[in-house]
Subunit: 263 residues, 2 copies
């Protein structure tokens, strides 16, 4: 399938990967540097948001390098180099980052300790299961096999989305006024950016072929990763900043009038 | 032995190494960032936990690179490149990290100063001896030689395990209620994850041959390292968070009601 790619498609995908390395690296630096701008209790959520973009940055460096090793370019003509593109990097990344993404959302909600542990365990395990079930289909060229694993993977996917929409809806009503809109937005960003993944997955099964299919899948997953990891991480940070103003340690340490104007 | 490996085994091992780079890097970032989330007295334990995963991240970057240089891939077919895979990275890593792992466990126990120094010296030296005695067998293809060094290495191994189970048992009873379960869990995680190593070591001596033996040893050690270093480090962090709530400096700095819900 890599044989049918055009030089333009090759470059589009490569530049999307390189752009993502820069975005993830910048998001990581921002979140790591600015975790002291939120109250003590929200700092773990910000650390974890930064871990997600840090892990993604690492994998996009590897993905970009594997992509360029998969091709050789001679006189502006692109051809497969015979070295396989390593699809596993994405799944290894998701196996780590998707459970962490859900945990950062749960942590910023500031639920009770037992509720935090219960929700993090449940959603984190379902997310790992979803990623594992998707992989056998992703590496298969056969549409039947792809649909089979896609369907299995959609079961934990739908449970998570349902849980976020219905289960977390109740918790959102108990969020402070100032942060309620942003927490609700984070819920929607999760669901919408997540919907990208199963749609991108089916592109090669619904008529898209050759180089276009490869490029669409790679660019599609890349856009979804930017929104779901870097965009979402910044949203979590903004929620933590708003909610910090209600925390006694934060109010004591940061005098009134000096509250962050950044968000 | 590397000649008999299949492309699938090669990729499984490579992806396990890359996954571990990401896990160790993420654990390091988390522990370095979050050491301020625990009381002053426990921060050295958290720093050392982060050093262990940091050293492991470095070695897994080297191991992954040595692994891919040991093979060449032509048209999806894998063959030995003639460059030897460097087994020494693991032993150099263990020589540094295993004594540090024991020291982080001892530090989080908050024993008396003399007890801390005595235990850290004794267990740290035994751990270094254990790693040094294992290496000559690891690089030998002869089962007799492997068994000889394995047996010698098991002597300090068993003394450490005995000391953790019996010696630290007494100290555990003196741990605060809130942390006792986690400290006990850390003791078990150490012993169970450590048992992985001598078992993986003997796989090529009990009938496993060729590519399967190589893949099983590499993936086995990798899983053991993830549990014993990253998993254990997070457990030490959780213990430190719970115990911090009993430290006066921590209680003074972090008002009640703002205690971390992270763990």
């Amino acid at each position: 399938m890599l044989d049918s790619i055009s030089a333009l498609q090759y470059e589009l995908v490569y530049n999307a990967f390189s752009f993502t390395v820069a975005v993830m690296g910048a998001a990581t630096a921002f979140l790591f540097l600015n975790r002291g701008q939120v109250a003590f209790i929200y700092r773990t959520a910000i650390s974890i948001s930064g871990l997600v973009t840090f892990i993604a940055m690492y994998h996009y460096i590897r993905i970009a390098s594997s992509w360029s090793q998969s091709f050789s370019m001679v006189n502006g003509q692109i051809a497969s180099s015979g070295i396989a593109f390593n699809d596993a990097y994405r799944y290894v990344d998701w196996l780590l980052t998707v459970p962490l993404l859900l945990i950062e959302l749960i942590l910023v909600m500031k639920l009770s300790q037992s509720e935090t542990v219960a929700k993090a365990t449940k959603l984190g395990s379902l997310a790992a299961l979803m990623v594992i079930l998707g992989y056998p289909g992703e590496i298969s060229p056969d549409p039947g096999t792809r649909w089979f694993w896609w369907s299995l993977s959609m079961i934990p996917f739908l449970i998570i989305v349902y849980d976020l929409f219905i289960g977390l809806k109740k918790s959102i009503d108990s969020q402070p006024e100032a942060a309620r809109g942003l927490v609700s937005a984070a819920r929607y960003v999760t669901v919408v950016s997540w919907l990208f993944y199963p749609i991108v997955y089916v592109l090669p099964m619904v008529g898209l072929t050759g180089g276009s299919a490869v490029a669409a899948v790679q660019v599609g997953y890349t856009i979804a990763d930017i929104v779901a990891k870097a965009g979402f991480g910044i949203l979590i940070y903004m929620i933590a900043v708003r909610k910090s103003e209600l925390e006694p340690d934060f109010v004591a340490a940061i005098p009134r009038g000096a509250k962050p104007s950044a968000v």
